[in-house]
Each structure stands twice: as structure tokens, then as C-alpha cells.
């Protein structure tokens, strides 16, 4: 990785590392909700005879606790600074750099994700492992595949949030778009429930036609080994496709946005 990228990743990491109490509070909240979700899903599985749409007890536990950890790493709920900077006009400073802001924001976000992975991912995972017992993958290949899929999820989610941020060039206030995104991305990414509980046609549509399952369901399914290694590779390939597609879309929308730019304020 070139020096610029390393410096930006490091800056993103340090930026979030400054807010230790917020990190602790976030990890605590994720853990509390982990208990709630875990008890609900386990009781559903218990009434259905031990498994739920093909996930056994330990798979469900892993699905919940890894999900609670990944939520902060992928970070679909927090918006990028971009929208706020467009609203205040500070985006001028981003445009006056010799680097495309898309990449500056991406590398900084990867730094943020790295910090979250070391803190907010670890806490719920350890709690889940101690309190409920996690699923242990049978194949060693699952570990690197999970890491790869998580990295792809981070970039896909970044691209989605960057696109939402770009809408600020037209809307100025993106709270409406944001609320819609939080609801849809939560339900369609497998955060609230595994997508397998949906009717098959609907989950197929989500997997094929939307980037949402790439955000969480993809790495989670790989971690609990649903389908074989081949299936996992196929899932990663789908994520790569969405990543490329969304980044291209970001570039295209950004060009348009900058062309119509009205810088706010004096």
C-alpha cells in the first residue's frame, strides 16, 4: 500500500481512537442488544425443535454475536462526514486536495473499521463466546474467507454511505434518506433476522438484486459455514461485483454533483 493510503488509514484509526468512552459505550450497547437478540432467536429455535431455518444453536449464537460485533465494523448506521461537510460548505477543502475525495474518505473509513475491529468487534464476541459458546468452523479456510468477506462488506457499506452523502449536494438535508437507509439496510442485510426466514423468492431477490446482504449476511453465513467453500467463494464474488458497481456509481454521481456544486456560505 502506498504511503498516502497508509497515512489516511492511520489517521482514520487515530481519529476514532481518541473517543474511548464513546467506544466503550458503543460496545456495551451492542452487547446488551446481543443478549436480547440471542435469547429471542434461541427461544424461536427451541420451539421449532432446536434449529431455525437451518441454523443450529451454536450457529445462531455466532450469527447474533458476530453480527453485533460486525455492526460497528461495517458501520452502516453512522453517516460519513461528507453530507455534513456539503451542508456547511466545508467540502470545499476536500475538493481542493490533489486526491479524489472518494478515495480519501474510503481509506479513512478503513482506518475507522480497523479500530472498530480491535475494540467494538472483540467485546461482544468474547461475551458471546463465554456466555453462550460460539460455532467453531470445521474448515480452516473459513477464517481467511470471513476476513475477506468482512473487508468487502466494509467497502460495499462505505460506497452505499458515500452515495447517500452525495445526495446532500442536491438535498442538503439527508435525514430523510438516512432514516430510510437505516430501516431498509437493517432489515435487508440480515441484521434483524437471518434472511433465510424470508420467503425464498424474496431472499433471492435481495441476494441477487441488492447490495444489502453483502453488508452483514454474507460474512455471517461464511463464518457459520452455510453451504460449502464453493458457496462462500460465490458469496465473496457477489460482494466484489457490488463493490465495483457501487464505487463506479459513486464516481459517476460525484462528477455530476461537483458540476452542479453550489458552495454554501460566504
Amino acid at each position: 500500500m502506498a504511503r498516502v493510503q497508509t497515512a489516511l488509514v492511520a489517521a482514520g484509526f487515530r481519529r476514532y481512537a481518541t473517543y474511548r468512552q464513546a467506544t466503550f459505550a458503543g460496545a456495551f450497547t451492542n452487547t446488551v442488544f446481543g443478549y436480547l437478540r440471542c435469547y429471542i432467536l434461541l427461544s424461536v429455535a427451541a420451539t421449532a425443535g432446536g434449529t431455525m431455518v437451518g441454523y443450529d444453536r451454536s450457529q445462531l449464537v455466532s450469527y447474533v454475536w458476530l453480527g453485533q460485533g460486525l455492526l460497528a465494523v461495517v458501520n452502516s448506521w453512522t453517516m460519513l462526514d461528507l453530507a455534513e461537510r456539503v451542508r456547511t460548505g466545508d467540502v470545499v477543502a476536500d475538493l481542493l486536495r490533489p486526491v479524489d475525495p472518494l478515495w480519501t474518505y474510503l481509506w479513512t473509513d478503513i482506518g475507522r473499521a480497523a479500530f472498530a475491529a480491535l475494540t467494538r468487534f472483540v467485546v461482544p464476541l468474547v461475551v458471546g463466546a463465554i456466555a453462550f459458546g460460539l460455532y467453531v468452523p470445521r474448515s480452516l479456510l473459513t477464517y481467511p474467507l470471513f476476513v475477506l468477506s468482512t473487508l468487502l462488506a466494509i467497502v460495499v457499506c462505505f460506497a452505499c454511505r458515500y452515495l447517500i452523502g452525495l445526495t446532500a449536494f442536491w438535498l442538503l438535508d439527508i435525514r430523510g434518506v438516512m432514516m430510510f437507509w437505516v430501516f431498509v439496510s437493517g432489515a435487508a442485510s440480515g441484521l434483524y433476522f437471518p434472511l433465510a426466514v424470508l420467503p425464498e423468492w424474496l431472499s433471492t431477490v435481495l441476494w441477487v438484486a441488492t447490495p444489502f446482504p453483502s453488508l452483514l449476511q454474507a460474512p455471517l453465513d461464511i463464518a457459520v459455514e452455510r453451504g460449502g467453500t464453493g458457496h462462500a467463494l460465490l458469496v465473496c464474488l457477489g460482494q466484489v461485483m457490488w463493490m465495483v458497481l457501487l464505487l463506479l456509481l459513486c464516481r459517476w454521481v460525484q462528477t455530476r454533483a461537483v458540476r452542479k456544486l453550489v458552495v454554501q456560505g460566504g
Partner: protein
């Protein structure tokens, strides 16, 4: 010629509510045909009242805004088309914006900028040292930007804009909101930048002391048009702003007394204080004539006030 603009225009469409549902669209020209050339090494003061189009011009020159019409070239490049290339060769400070990383210490912003602009380590260190010495950054380089005072932040912003050795420095109101000491620090610093002559500087400001202390050339813009382009003296000459002599007298001013080369503009304080405006004659001669005519207690010669001239200029144009 490092900056040139010909017939530069920027129009915005504004819609206004008329009646319950109807909206009327208006075209407003923020910049209305500006011609401007700046030579390498110049320090140009670009002034005008609020809303005159100063910032809009600067945003077009830096490639952030697309002009509605006209030709622009900065460092031989077309700013909008070559924005990222141009970015390496210019430095920009918008007084009301920040280019620093809010959550990080100042020094980390600087080192991040070194990577972004790919500045060799040695050059970076040399430039940073120069700025640190001149602006006294030492005290707060390790403080996160969000905790800096406005004056400290502005010193950081100026440094950030200069670290990659830009050919042109665009400064949009760099002294806005600063206290007297910080303003002085910024001015002294800019005077030094100007003296070294490595950078061409375009400075917009509302603080006319900035102009008096720094700018040999002054471009005044109003309603999107250039209304004056020349030195400060030329501006004074054009508006015939003249020096005045204020004299305190031992005895009342004899009514009807006139002096060659000066006009009596005020007689105050029981006729013991008189103000004379010079009209084409040197101050010395008028003072000599005055000393012969009356008994002087005290006397002062006052330079024309730039604030008055500019206020008159703004008023005339509107």
C-alpha cells in the same frame, strides 16, 4: 502571467415563492464579467462589500465552481478541468472553513498533508520550521484542532496551505474574527511570504488595514464587476482623497481668512481649531503660510483614510 481571467461570470438560479404554490425563478449574477491578470510574485488585494462576488471568484479560480462564462487560467491550467493537478500547485485558506482534521492534533494534520501532497521529507521539514518560527506554532502543535482558538487555528491553516510550496496562495478573509495580536501575526507572516517572493498571493479581506500594510495592488469588486484595479494611491487619486491639516490656535480663526492651496473645511472649538484640506499644494508650504497668518499651538497632518475612500467607492457603485 500566473492568473488570468477574461469575462468571468457566474450565475445562480434562485427561486422565490410567489403565491401559495407558484415559484418564480430568477437568474442572479454573482460574478458579472470580471477581467483579471496577476503576475508571478504579486500580492493582490481583492476587496469588495459583502456579497460582491469575491469568494465566488476565488472558488472559480481554484476550480471548485464551474464558471457560467468566460476564460480562466491559473498556473497555465484550466481550474475546473484540471482541479486535482492544480491543487498541488495552489494553496487555499478559506477563513470560514477548515482544511485541518478536526479530531487530530495539528502536527498530525501537517504530516497527513505531507503524504497527500507527496512532499519530500526535507522540504516539508524546512517549510514547517519556517512557519513554526514565524507563527509561533510550537505551543499548540500537539493540541487537537477542535481545541484550538480561532487565532491558533488560522495560523495552522496558513501553514497547511503553504507546506506543499504552492505557486499561488489564495486567502479568503484570513483575518476574519481574529484579535489584534493574531491579526498582526498573520500580517507580519504574509509580509514575509511576500518579501520572499516565492508565492503569488491573492488576498480577500474586509480589513482595510490588511490592504494598507500588505497590498501594492488593489482590485475592488462590487456587484460582480471590477470597479477599480490599481495601487492604493491611484485609488486615493481617483477619489481625490486628500490629506488634511488640523491646527489648534492661540487665538480664534479670523473669519474669512483663506490660504493658497488649501480649503478650510471646519472651524471648531470656539474657532480655535481649524481643519484645512490640501488642494494641490505640498503640506510644508501650507503649514508655513499658516504659521505666518496665525499663532499656532499644535498641528497635525493626517493621511487620507482608506476606510472613507472605500466606503465612498462602495456607496458610489451602489
Amino acid at each position: 502571467m500566473i492568473i488570468s481571467a477574461r469575462g468571468l461570470r457566474k450565475e445562480f438560479t434562485v427561486s422565490r415563492k410567489v403565491g401559495r404554490f407558484r415559484r418564480e425563478r430568477h437568474v442572479v449574477s454573482a460574478v458579472d464579467g470580471v477581467d483579471l491578470t496577476v503576475e508571478r510574485g504579486e500580492l493582490l488585494g481583492y476587496i469588495g462589500p459583502n456579497g460582491a462576488g469575491k469568494s465566488t471568484t476565488l472558488k472559480m479560480l481554484t476550480g471548485v465552481l464551474t464558471p457560467s462564462a468566460g476564460e480562466v487560467s491559473v498556473c497555465g491550467l484550466e481550474p475546473v478541468a484540471k482541479r486535482t493537478t492544480l491543487a498541488r500547485r495552489i494553496g487555499v485558506v478559506f477563513g470560514q472553513r477548515s482544511q485541518l482534521w478536526w479530531d487530530l492534533p495539528l502536527e498530525e494534520s501537517f504530516s497527513l498533508l505531507r503524504h497527500i501532497y507527496r512532499v519530500p521529507e526535507g522540504d516539508h521539514a524546512a517549510r514547517l520550521k519556517q512557519c513554526t518560527d514565524l507563527l509561533g506554532l510550537d505551543e499548540f502543535q500537539r493540541t487537537p484542532v477542535r481545541q484550538l482558538s480561532l487565532g491558533q487555528r488560522m495560523r495552522g491553516e496558513l501553514t497547511a496551505a503553504l507546506l506543499h510550496g504552492p505557486e499561488v496562495l489564495f486567502l479568503d478573509e484570513p483575518t476574519i474574527g481574529l484579535d489584534v495580536l493574531s491579526k498582526q501575526a498573520v500580517r507580519t507572516f504574509l509580509a514575509d511570504v511576500d518579501k520572499r517572493g516565492d508565492n503569488t498571493v491573492v488576498l480577500t479581506t474586509h480589513d482595510l488595514a490588511d490592504i494598507e500594510k500588505l497590498c501594492r495592488r488593489l482590485v475592488v469588486i462590487d456587484h460582480g464587476r471590477v470597479v477599480h484595479d490599481g495601487t492604493l494611491d491611484e485609488l486615493h487619486a481617483r477619489y481625490r482623497s486628500r490629506r488634511t491639516i488640523v491646527a489648534d490656535l492661540d487665538n480664534p480663526w479670523p473669519e474669512g481668512l483663506t490660504l493658497p492651496g488649501a480649503v478650510v473645511t471646519a472651524v471648531e472649538a470656539d474657532a480655535r481649531r481649524v481643519t484645512l484640506t490640501l488642494d494641490g499644494m505640498a503640506a510644508g508650504e501650507v503649514v508655513a503660510a499658516l504659521a505666518q497668518a496665525v499663532s499656532l499651538r499644535d498641528l497635525s497632518v493626517q493621511e487620507p483614510d482608506i476606510e472613507d475612500v472605500v466606503a465612498r467607492l462602495y456607496r458610489d457603485e451602489s
